[in-house]
Symmetry: C2
Subunit: 418 residues, 2 copies
Amino acid sequence: MTLLKSWVDSANSATTDFPLNNLPYGVFSIAGGAPRCGVAIGDQVLDVTALENDKLLVIADSAVLQQAVWNPLMELPADSWSSFRTQLIALLEDGAADQDKLTPHLYALADVQLHMPMRVSEFTDFYAGRYHATNVGTMFRGAENALPPNWLHIPIGYNGRASSVVVSGTPVQRPWGQLKGPDQELPAFMPSRRFDLELEMGAIVGNASQGPVSVDEADAMIFGYVLLNDWSARDIQAWEYQPLGPFQAKATATTISPWIVTAAALDSFRVSTPEREFELLPHLQDTGPMLYDIELSVTLAPDQKAATTIAQTNYSEMYYSAAQQLAHHTTSGCPMRTGDLLGSGTISGPEKSMRGSLLEISWGGKEPLTLDTGETRTFLEDGDTLTLQGHAQGDGYRIGFGDCSGTLVPALEKPYSR
Amino acid sequence: MTLLKSWVDSANSATTDFPLNNLPYGVFSIAGGAPRCGVAIGDQVLDVTALENDKLLVIADSAVLQQAVWNPLMELPADSWSSFRTQLIALLEDGAADQDKLTPHLYALADVQLHMPMRVSEFTDFYAGRYHATNVGTMFRGAENALPPNWLHIPIGYNGRASSVVVSGTPVQRPWGQLKGPDQELPAFMPSRRFDLELEMGAIVGNASQGPVSVDEADAMIFGYVLLNDWSARDIQAWEYQPLGPFQAKATATTISPWIVTAAALDSFRVSTPEREFELLPHLQDTGPMLYDIELSVTLAPDQKAATTIAQTNYSEMYYSAAQQLAHHTTSGCPMRTGDLLGSGTISGPEKSMRGSLLEISWGGKEPLTLDTGETRTFLEDGDTLTLQGHAQGDGYRIGFGDCSGTLVPALEKPYSR
């Protein structure tokens, strides 16, 4: 596929995240106004809530874009997703008829505030990157036992906390927690000293399900993708995670990028999962390419200073696709709902420069990272701004996600009123 | 406290679950009608949605009881909870004025269908019963290492799946899952063969929070309690739970009793948590009696046959109160929301007859249980109906929860369409 030309000039650049081929869905407001649904195009956002009101867009018999979240579209059948996208392309393509009617509903992205694009129903986080799992396993259990026995047979995951998912730009406060160092006899309650990022992709469930679904059905249920930073307090996690898994270590915040990039926009970037050491059982087997070739990076900028790229990797490094994760999620009959968010797990790659967490980059704090400013990091410092970026590279265009960014602010001085 | 007399005669019995002292909140429908909010009184349910429409009950400026869930009341400040309860008592007490206006809105419980009393925002399940954790730990790791090192310092919990919470009476289908027996080289995908119950209480969060809360604040946030059966597939759990905790093993269903018994109704049954081996850190310390003296039992009835009581225990056997669990849940800054449901963890006691799961009763399947019908059980068989019951015993009255019941139906013959 090549660049689709739009009458919105800025959408025709080879470096914009948002050409006509993309059309990601977000929620925005302008100073003093109420949040509404918008579609990014070049350096503009199109107010589609207004277009639905004006009948320039017709999706269903009743209103779909009036709730300032995309869940009502997501829960419609997938042919409504395509017909909406087709209408958007027709309105925005080069030579389209209604340009004068649309122009009043375009706002400069630089002038708007972005909000959560969806109501997150439930959040599940996986652990499905082999390089990450191997790195972490090697640190904790030695190279011989790096991967748990189940790892090559099912996408290991745990339920996270939907209430803690925030949109890019929301400050993240260093958490307090109970933790115990290896040299301490008793635990203490204090601010986390090993606070970390995790570079992930998030898959968003559109259509709900009641019983188990196949990998193909799961793939068709996925509405779109976002970048996702699953902030993690490693010291709280180390103390709490046996035997029932991470809990408060992962509950402070999870930041997502503000634009839902649709599965449709990513379709020509599908790639296969890697060759497998053990064949998966039939219900989890790949039936086609269900990962995506998405280049990913993370920068770290200390308080107001220049940013350093600390990791560069690709979503195609994952061992399991989101469709396989979602199929596994339903095996027990677990109902899935519109707005469920599935984190991929940390996406690291084979090279040291491809590690998606400071835990791996600093090898558990033993090998500090030197930033371009000359400062070093083992884990995050107050004032650090972390920014995830990602895009699929087409022929003369790219499908970008926009920034997924968050700044770490100091812990509460005293977390309790008494 | 003694029995409060009501003009609804059946509420004045010493054995009804629902005297005037209780007034639990549910959602009901009568044949062909829409679900609405109801309050149980004796063998009747009072249609409070109709009373709010008729202005016989006034809670807030706008309607609170029109959504067929109790979340709108739960999110109001706690003084609205008390004023609503005070109005209900005034309407239903012996000698009340408006009996003739209320009578048309009373329905026999025997004639109504009960629904989920709330929208569950998120579901967290704890592991906070010492006898249960010790039993399970002994089976899996030996008596010396039964309790993990963190267990006596924090209430261990994990996030569950809100979408799988169902109301009493909903059939539960035996799940498929990936599992691997100790003598198998590779895992298989098959219906669970070690499907189990877990006898728990559920605490319901009323008022939301944004940052960490104290134990006292947490106690004040809890709106009420339900009985809770956290169905568990032990064989799926054994294969999947390392290193990130239970996932599909706990996602088939969690059954709750249909009536929310308010914290106000239980207030005179408060008891303290047990003496502690290690003093808790200040942010988790008890500040008063925050457990409740609630007698609990479970019966198992094979397909259409007589029920056997398989466990009898008490909520006061817990090591951590729901308030302590909720306070811990917020330590990292995790936002809590109206409608969050917190499972206590399995409530076992010191005696063998007090074990709240078949895993413990049959000691991992090694000591089959003989039912009154002569049949034996290690884990559940298709057709088994499990019923949890509970009540706080007052002087000549009791605060009951109603049945929390579910029947296990056979697994899907083939869980996938392809």
